[in-house]
């Protein structure tokens, strides 16, 4: 049997703010009569996210998300809603994988990348980007 390791390495992957966003997602819920909306899932793992957006003059006035899945996908979506509120659709269009990863600030393995990017991909589909 192997000795119990300390938490270094893994608390890197699951920092406190990630767990906080996972358990207390920001902008959680749905919007009534959203201007744009999309729901999708990652069929490989079943992670599921819905994004509702209220637009005004090409600016994201309000946004809500609802989902279920792993800490990475849910925290990433929660962080994303904070990032994009008040931004223009063009600014969202410019967002990519690197922005999401920078937002999370943790190392993501190839197998988990789809989790991290699910929120952005759903938002972009909602906005027809």
């Amino acid at each position: 049997m192997r000795p119990a390791d300390d938490l270094s390495g893994m608390d890197e992957l699951y920092r406190d703010f990630i767990l906080d966003h996972y358990r207390n997602p920001r902008n959680a819920g749905t919007l009534e009569a959203p201007d744009a909306s999309c729901e999708d899932l990652n069929p490989l793992c079943g992670d599921r996210i819905r994004m509702d957006v209220k637009l005004h003059d090409g600016i994201i006035e309000d946004i809500r998300f609802q989902g279920r899945g792993c800490a990475i996908s849910q925290a990433s979506a929660s962080l994303l809603t904070e990032t994009v509120k008040g931004k223009t659709v063009a600014e969202v269009a410019a967002l990519g994988k690197d922005d999401v990863l920078a937002n999370l600030g943790i190392p993501i393995s190839a197998a988990r990348l789809k989790c991290a990017l699910l929120g952005l991909s759903v938002l972009k589909r909602a906005l027809k980007l």
Binding site: M1, R2, A4, D5, L7, G9, M10, D11, L13, Y14, L19, R23, L44, C45, G46, D47, R48, R68, G69, C70, A71, I72, S109, R112, C115
Partner: protein
Amino acid sequence: MTATMPQAAVGASLSPAAVARIRADFPILQERPHGKPLIFLDSAASSQKPVQVIEAMDDYYRRYHANIHRGIYHISELATEAYEEARSAIARFIGSPCSAECIFVRNATEGINLVAYSWGRSNVRAGDVILLTEMEHHSNLVPWQMLAQEKGARLRFVPVTADGRLDMNRLDTLLDGARLFAFTAVSNTLGTINPVRELCLRARAAGAVSVVDACQAVPRMPVDVTQWQCDFAAFSSHKMLGPTGIGVLWGRKDLLDAMPPFLTGGGMINVVRYDRTTFADVPARFEAGTPAIAEAVGLGAAVAYLTAVGMERVARYEHELAALALEKLRGIGQVVVYGPGIEHRTGVISITVGDIHAHDLASILDREGICVRAGHHCNQPLMEKLGVPATTRASFYLYNTPDEIDALIAGLEKAKRIFKLT
């Protein structure tokens, strides 16, 4: 083709020394992902391979690869013999009276599709009932949905009880009017061992043909299709120490003889004219094109390995590991174990831990070198029924050890600390 065979000790199960000798046959167990020893607890998804299997295929490619059946030269004769010997070895391994009953396919999934297309399209009619169970793998569910849709047949499902077993009380009612009953011998999510013989006999009594998904059974327990009294059984090589790219559909000879071909082309014909074709006898009729020859040789070597170890022992040892794991898991708070009690299960254990999502749990265990599966395990509707989006599944096989279960437990405890669960 390889001479060395595993040296398992005599006894009811596998001794630690026997397991140590078995482990030495599996090169991958020397790997150190993330700097930790590899602890492979995902054999239900795909098992690792002993050198005997790897070398049998190597030897084939280095010494006697050639296309089979129509080659009138030495290495082609050797290849043909090896291919057909593998078929015979598999027939013996599963108690089939006749090697022509074993058809080589790519995997269990293709085997089930073969039955659905060939037997199903010519025997199932509008209004017929196809009976399944609520615990089927997508591979033993979706092909029947497709058939039902094409033919206007109806699907019914044997319910899964709260403790993860088939509800046998409703079986005869559900079988009433059924043309076909397809079910798994062992659940790949719950670990449940189903009463295959009873299910087959009751299907037959009701006039239904039985299709057994033997994917999780053939690798881990003695299987005898004659004792089971089933009509068809499908399984995959890659889950039973053999290579990827090959699997077996076993079928009762009289049923196979009456079935039209599925895939057509070279190797499965009798006489071909531009406008019409007559077909070869089974098994050739169902093996169109150049088959997976090296893979058959590898699967033959896997069967020889498992036979040398002894399937009774493999089953008992896996059961011991499962009992140990269940006991230790009971000692950790917030762990929910799905599936039945130890007396009805094999070494496949699905759990959830507090609000930690299965993917996060698997990622944390991965950093410890521990390989487990996380997700729906190709059992989406069952997950829905269990009310969980995903579970984390550990599965044991003949090369796993009690120490590895301790490591799993330590990993789960670490995950709880990371997620600040008490």
